[in-house]
C-alpha cells in the first residue's frame, strides 16, 4: 500500500519540494547566523543567555522537547490545513460561480443537494426591478460509461457557457466555447483514469448519449471523489434525465447600484418553494453542512485539539524535569536577590526558545506536506494567517507548559543553598 502511494507521488514534485526545503533551510540558517552575529555585537540579554544555555545544555532533553513540539505543531497544522482545504473544496463551485443571489429549492443544505426548481421561477425573478440577469444551473448524478465498457458515477454541472454563470476554470486544453457543440463535455485531467479516457477528443456515454471531451481542466476536484463533468445546460439535463422545464439553481446578477437586500426580499415574495440566498450565505450553509452536519469538521478540530494537548504535555514534562535539574541554580538566583518575576522570565524564555525552534522545524515539514498534497483529493492548505496562528499557538502552548515548572521554582527556599 505504501509502495503504491509512493509510486503515485510525482517525483518532480518531490524534487521541487526538496529544493524548496533546501532553499528555505539555507535562507533560515543564514538569517539566524546573521541575527546571532548582530545580537553578539549588541549583547544578548543575560537572561536569554541563561535560558538558552539551560535549554541547550541537555541535548537529549532538548531533542525530546523539540520532537514533541514538532509533532504537535504538525498534527495541528495538518488537521487545520485539511479543514481549510476541505472548507475550500466544499464551496469551490459557489466560489467560482458568478452570482449575487442564489435562488435555491427550499431546504437546500449544500451545493450538491440536487432538488429541482420550476423554470417559471426564473422568469418571475427576471421581472423584478434591480435584477439584471438570471442564469439557470442544473446539477445531478449520472452514470458515465467508459469507452472500455465499465461505468462510474459522475456529478454533472450544466450551465449555459455564454451566461458565464458557472463554467469550468483552470482550463489546460480545449475551449469553453466548444461546449456549445452537441454532445460535448469538460472534465478534469485528474479524473482521466476514472473516466477511462486519455484526453481531449476521447468520449464516454451518459444515458446512451455521447459525451466527447472538448475541454480539460486542472485542479477541479470533488471532495466526494465523484468526478465533475461540465456540460451545456440543455445537454446536462439530457445526461441527467432531468425534465426540460427544471433547473437546480437560478443565479441572479443584479443591476448596477441595485440594493441587494431589497431585491432579495422582492424575489423571495414573488417565488414559491424556494429560498433566496446571498453567495456568502450559500457558502456558509454548505460549509456548515459538510463540516459540522457530517461531523467531519469536528473530527478535524478534535485531531487538532489532541495535537495541542499532546504537545503541551510533552513540553510541560521536559520543562518541569529541566527545572528540577536546575533547581539549585534557581535557588541560588533567589538567594542573590532575584525576584520571582526574573526566575519566571528565565523559564518562559526557555519555553519560548523551545517553541521557536520546534515551530520552524515543524513549518519545514509542513511545507513538504503542503507541496506533496497539493494535487491530492484533499490538499493540506497553509495560509499566512494559519502560519501566524500556529506560531502564536505554539508560543502559548509552551507558555502554558511552563506553569508546572514555574509553580516549582516560586516555592524555592533560598536558604537551601546554604546547606548544599
Amino acid at each position: 500500500m505504501l509502495q503504491n502511494w509512493l509510486t503515485r507521488i510525482d517525483k518532480g514534485r518531490l524534487r521541487a519540494a526538496s529544493q524548496t526545503l533546501r532553499a528555505t533551510a539555507g535562507a533560515w540558517h543564514a538569517a539566524v547566523r546573521g541575527r546571532i552575529a548582530r545580537a553578539k555585537d549588541r549583547g544578548v540579554p543575560l537572561i536569554v543567555v541563561l535560558a538558552s544555555r539551560n535549554l541547550f545544555q541537555d541535548r537529549v532533553r532538548l531533542i525530546t522537547t523539540v520532537i514533541g513540539i514538532v509533532f504537535s505543531v504538525i498534527l495541528v497544522s495538518v488537521q487545520i490545513g485539511l479543514y481549510l482545504g476541505f472548507e475550500r473544496m466544499v464551496t469551490t463551485m459557489i466560489d467560482h460561480a458568478e452570482a449575487d443571489l442564489w435562488i435555491v429549492p427550499r431546504g437546500t443544505r449544500n451545493f450538491e443537494d440536487p432538488s429541482l426548481l420550476d423554470d417559471r421561477q426564473r422568469f418571475r425573478a427576471l421581472s423584478i426591478a434591480g435584477v439584471a440577469a438570471v442564469a439557470p444551473l442544473v446539477l445531478g448524478f449520472a452514470e458515465w460509461r467508459r469507452p472500455d465498457g465499465g461505468a462510474t458515477p459522475v456529478f454533472v454541472v450544466g450551465s449555459d457557457p455564454r451566461s458565464g454563470a458557472l463554467t469550468p476554470w483552470n482550463l489546460v486544453e480545449g475551449s469553453i466555447d466548444a461546449l456549445a457543440a452537441p454532445s460535448t463535455v469538460a472534465v478534469d485531467r485528474s479524473y482521466f483514469a476514472r473516466l477511462g479516457v486519455k484526453g481531449l477528443g476521447d468520449a464516454g456515454e451518459m444515458r446512451d448519449q455521447k459525451a466527447r471531451i472538448v475541454a480539460v481542466t486542472a485542479g477541479i476536484r470533488s471532495f466526494t471523489t465523484t468526478p465533475y463533468v461540465f456540460a451545456s445546460f440543455d445537454r446536462a439535463r439530457g445526461y441527467m434525465g432531468a425534465p426540460a422545464d427544471r433547473a437546480t439553481y437560478f443565479l441572479v446578477r443584479l443591476a448596477p447600484d441595485a440594493d441587494t437586500s431589497a431585491v432579495r426580499d422582492r424575489i423571495a415574495q414573488n417565488i414559491a418553494d424556494a429560498e433566496v440566498l446571498t453567495t456568502a450565505e450559500f457558502r456558509a450553509r454548505s460549509r456548515s453542512f459538510w463540516l459540522f452536519g457530517t461531523g467531519a469538521g469536528a473530527a478535524l478540530f478534535g485531531g487538532a485539539l489532541l495535537g495541542i494537548v499532546v504537545g503541551t504535555v510533552i513540553v510541560a514534562q521536559t520543562l518541569y524535569s529541566s527545572t528540577k535539574d536546575h533547581i539549585a541554580e534557581f535557588a541560588t538566583l533567589r538567594a542573590i536577590g532575584s525576584s520571582t518575576r526574573y526566575i519566571v522570565e528565565v523559564i518562559l524564555w526557555q519555553a519560548l526558545l523551545s517553541a521557536v525552534v520546534g515551530f520552524f522545524l515543524a513549518m519545514l515539514v509542513g511545507l513538504v506536506i503542503v507541496t506533496v498534497t497539493a494535487d491530492s483529493v484533499l490538499p493540506v492548505v497553509m495560509t499566512p494567517g494559519l502560519v501566524l496562528g500556529l506560531l502564536l499557538l505554539t508560543v502559548l502552548m509552551c507558555a502554558v507548559s511552563a506553569v508546572a515548572a514555574i509553580r516549582e521554582v516560586v516555592r524555592i527556599d533560598p536558604a537551601t543553598v546554604l546547606s548544599r
Binding site: G43, P45, L46, I47, V49, L50, R53, N54, Q57, A328, E329, T332, L333, R334, A335, I336, G337, S338, S339, T340, Y342, D413, P414, A415, V417, L418, S419, R420
Partner: protein
C-alpha cells in the same frame, strides 16, 4: 570601623514543628559594622547557618528584629526580602553555587542583571570585580574549567560587584586546600578594609582565625564569647598570599 550595616537584636528562631521542633537561636544580638571582618564560629548545629540566613534576609526570625541599613525586615514578605538581598547583601557559599552554563564574567554580571542593570557598563564592572579577585585572565572560562579556589574567587567577585554593603560567607574555605583557603580569606579581609562594607564569615576552620577583626563564638543557639582587635597583626603575618584588592 564605621556605622552598623546589619543589626540583629534578641533573635530567636524555632525550626520544625511538633516533637521535631528545635530552638536554633535563643536571643542572639549581633551588629556587623563597616570595615570589619567578623568570624562566626561554633560547632555543628550551634545555629551559625541559621543566624547567617536571618542576617542575610533569607529567613525570617521567630522573634527579635533585624535591621539592614536601618530598614527593619520585620514585616517584609519574600519579594521585599529578595529586594534587600539584591541591593545590600553579597553571598559567598561553601559550594560556590556558580551557574555551570555561564562563563566567569557572566556569573558575575548575573547579580547586576537581577537588579535590572543591563547596560554595557555591567561588563566593565564585572571585569573589574574579576580583576579585584585576581581573575582578569579568566573572564570566559566556565566553572568546570576553573579550580576550586578560582571558582570561589568568582563567587567573591559576584558578591562584591553590586557594591553590597554586607558580604556573608558560609564556610568559604571548607572545600579548599590550605593555600587556596588562605588566598580566599586574604581577599575577604581586604574587602573588609572598606569602611562601608561589613564581612561576616561563618566557619569552624581554625586556620582562618588570624584574618578576623572580631571572633564571635556561638553554641547551642547563644553567643558565648566575642574577641576583637585581631586583624591588623594577622595580615602582616601572611606576606606570601598576594591580594589584588585595592
Amino acid at each position: 570601623m564605621s556605622a552598623a550595616i546589619i543589626e540583629a537584636v534578641d533573635i530567636e528562631k524555632t525550626l520544625g514543628e511538633g516533637v521535631a521542633q528545635v530552638k536554633a537561636l535563643r536571643g542572639v544580638s549581633l551588629t556587623l559594622k563597616g570595615g570589619e571582618l567578623t568570624l562566626l564560629m561554633g560547632p555543628s548545629g550551634s545555629g551559625k547557618t541559621t543566624l547567617l540566613s536571618i542576617l542575610g534576609c533569607m529567613l525570617a526570625p521567630s522573634s527579635g528584629t533585624v535591621r539592614l541599613h536601618g530598614e527593619s525586615t520585620a514585616s517584609a514578605g519574600p519579594e521585599e526580602l529578595a529586594r534587600l538581598r539584591r541591593n545590600h547583601v553579597g553571598f559567598v557559599f561553601q559550594s560556590y553555587h556558580l551557574f555551570p552554563t555561564l562563563t566567569a564574567i557572566e556569573n558575575v554580571r548575573l547579580v547586576l542583571d537581577v537588579r535590572g542593570e543591563h547596560g554595557a557598563d555591567t561588563r566593565t564592572r564585572a571585569a573589574d570585580a574579576l580583576a579585584t579577585v585576581g581573575l582578569a585572565h579568566k573572564h570566559h572560562a566556565f566553572p568546570r574549567e576553573l579550580s576550586g579556589g578560582e571558582q570561589q574567587r568568582v563567587a567573591i567577585a559576584r558578591a562584591i560587584v553590586g557594591k553590597a554593603s554586607a558580604i556573608l560567607a558560609d564556610e568559604p574555605t571548607a572545600s579548599l586546600d590550605r593555600e587556596n583557603g588562605q588566598a580566599i580569606m586574604t581577599v575577604l579581609a581586604e574587602i573588609a578594609r572598606n569602611p562601608e562594607r561589613a564581612v561576616l564569615v561563618v566557619s569552624h576552620d581554625p586556620r582562618i582565625l588570624p584574618f578576623a577583626d572580631r571572633i564571635v563564638r556561638i553554641e547551642d543557639g547563644r553567643i558565648v564569647s566575642e574577641e576583637t582587635g585581631l586583624r591588623d597583626a594577622v595580615i602582616s603575618k601572611e606576606p606570601e598570599v598576594t591580594s589584588h584588592v585595592p
